[in-house]
Point group: C2
Chain length 364, copies 2
Amino acid sequence: MSESVALEAIAEVRAIDAFRKGFRAHPDQVNAPHSSDAEIVAIGPERWLALTTDALSSEISLGMYQDPYTAGWVLVMANLSDLAAVGARPLGLLNTLSLPPSWEGNVSARLSAGMADAAAAVGTYILGGDLNEAPAPVLSGSAVGWIEGAPLVTRVGVQAGDSLYATRAVGLGNAYATAFLMGHTTVARDIESVYRPVARLAEGLQLRPWVSAMMDGSDGLMTSLDQLARLNGVGWEIEFSSHLLNAQARRFMAGMNHPDWALLCGEHGDYELFFTVPENRQPAFEAACANWDWQPVRVGVASTTPGIRLHADGYAPFSFDGSFVRNLLTNCQGDWRAFVVAFWQYGQAQGLDKVILDTREAGS
Amino acid sequence: MSESVALEAIAEVRAIDAFRKGFRAHPDQVNAPHSSDAEIVAIGPERWLALTTDALSSEISLGMYQDPYTAGWVLVMANLSDLAAVGARPLGLLNTLSLPPSWEGNVSARLSAGMADAAAAVGTYILGGDLNEAPAPVLSGSAVGWIEGAPLVTRVGVQAGDSLYATRAVGLGNAYATAFLMGHTTVARDIESVYRPVARLAEGLQLRPWVSAMMDGSDGLMTSLDQLARLNGVGWEIEFSSHLLNAQARRFMAGMNHPDWALLCGEHGDYELFFTVPENRQPAFEAACANWDWQPVRVGVASTTPGIRLHADGYAPFSFDGSFVRNLLTNCQGDWRAFVVAFWQYGQAQGLDKVILDTREAGS
């Protein structure tokens, strides 16, 4: 594998690999590092435990979530979404919350309400946790779930020719991040009030028998696609059109006079699942879907050519360099303002800000 | 239960209760809040999952652990110790590490080495984790384990007359905290280099059939005893003598000219297990122990009289108010310097600093 398509081209991957260098592998752990949204450990015949941990960090330190209810909601859903991506049924969640004294009272009550409502919304439970004081808030959680019966699903298994889908149209997370980082304070508040992503647990269970690989969109579509491409040695041909876009997100972007491409290419996700269906299984899959109470959104197809190409009607294909965006914050020394400037410049240089996405009915 | 012996007399308990007010209880969760070191969820006949999460907070924000290796080691052992206290076999650990940029490179390599060595020392595994940037370091972890076969052990089940034991003599954690908080920098560094607490997993498994209740000593002996007293409606008669004290800890305290009582009464623990054995089971327990490769340290006996009384040879019993120490940091508005002053004053007022512990052979 060439340098540019290797996992190690991503700074975060190198940091994690360096950190876990001395760790012994569990003999019953099924997944390799980076290759699954949740850790999967065999615990019996056709039975696995799925475990994950996730913290909200920059969203909190930057103050993006104005209402701690949002933080509580997202914390729970972020962890459950990792279980959804491996088709696990949740057993419950634990949380470690390090809160500054200023969060006492109403602030932590809102945080708690967001956590309780999120867990209840998908029928699961917060089993316990740890509550500490810290100079700056850090919210972290973990979730445990079951997988019963084959097939196991991880991020690995994509073949060229596999069709790529999302559980829903995407972009609200990136509209939110755009509004916040570009200083549209009122719009950011409006988006926050409707930004309640839902871990696609039922969908993950339903999809497990059909898919060759699955990954959640916690860091946005392009970041997930870049990771899947590197893990599977494939590239992507993406149908870059408005059918991929959450309609509400599109209206918010239009209101801010920002181009739509950032909804698909930014690093703030919506916790939709992205998954691939093998070519030979696709007709049966499409037929089965017709009876579901939700409809997958077709995103594109896996290709033998490395890299990501965005196909928009009336334009030559755009090459999208996933490593550029994924390494950008590191290359900006963690400065989000610098990130935003460089991110928009990249899109302009690629000509993406001139793409007028087609007028097919937007998702909702 | 009177106000003073109720759980709600403890500020931390009230804070947790307020926070989790809106959470729904899992129908298969066995333990009530506050009543177990780990959350216990039934997953089949005579089979339970034990789950816990624990963060290092003040130790990190105060800079007590100079070597990140210590932080990594303690983070892993703190989580595993909660599994030990319910007699669970660990499946593995997850970690969420929020590190400032200054922790890159050597610092995080030391942290990682401490984590890897701790997991390997007790034969378990770090399954995965989440690595983030944050303005201040926050290290949190979670652990999952199995319990197979009755009886379940929690913090609840103590009857007056039950004998109280510890898995080993205690005090090194409190010697360390004393050295650090009282400004004995060199001594603190010396203690840190030997402070490698071990989660008593094998002992927890061995003890499960014998004990009426068990709790780890993550916050020191008196904090554990106060919690057990409140949960079980009992009091404690404690054999306040040097046999309870780790010999190394005692030498360090002598070197700093600080009295020994703080080794038993401070809030920094050593992750030993404290457990009770019912009166009618005690002879058989003592006989069984004689064949073990470790010997429990007898701490005292549960009593019908609420509160904790310390019995030292040649002195009238001392009353120890667990709620005073447990609420002290909150009452000092989180100021550890003020905590230390008030803590020593409390011991002086009780006459504890004049107690010369007897000369029975110290534990090691």
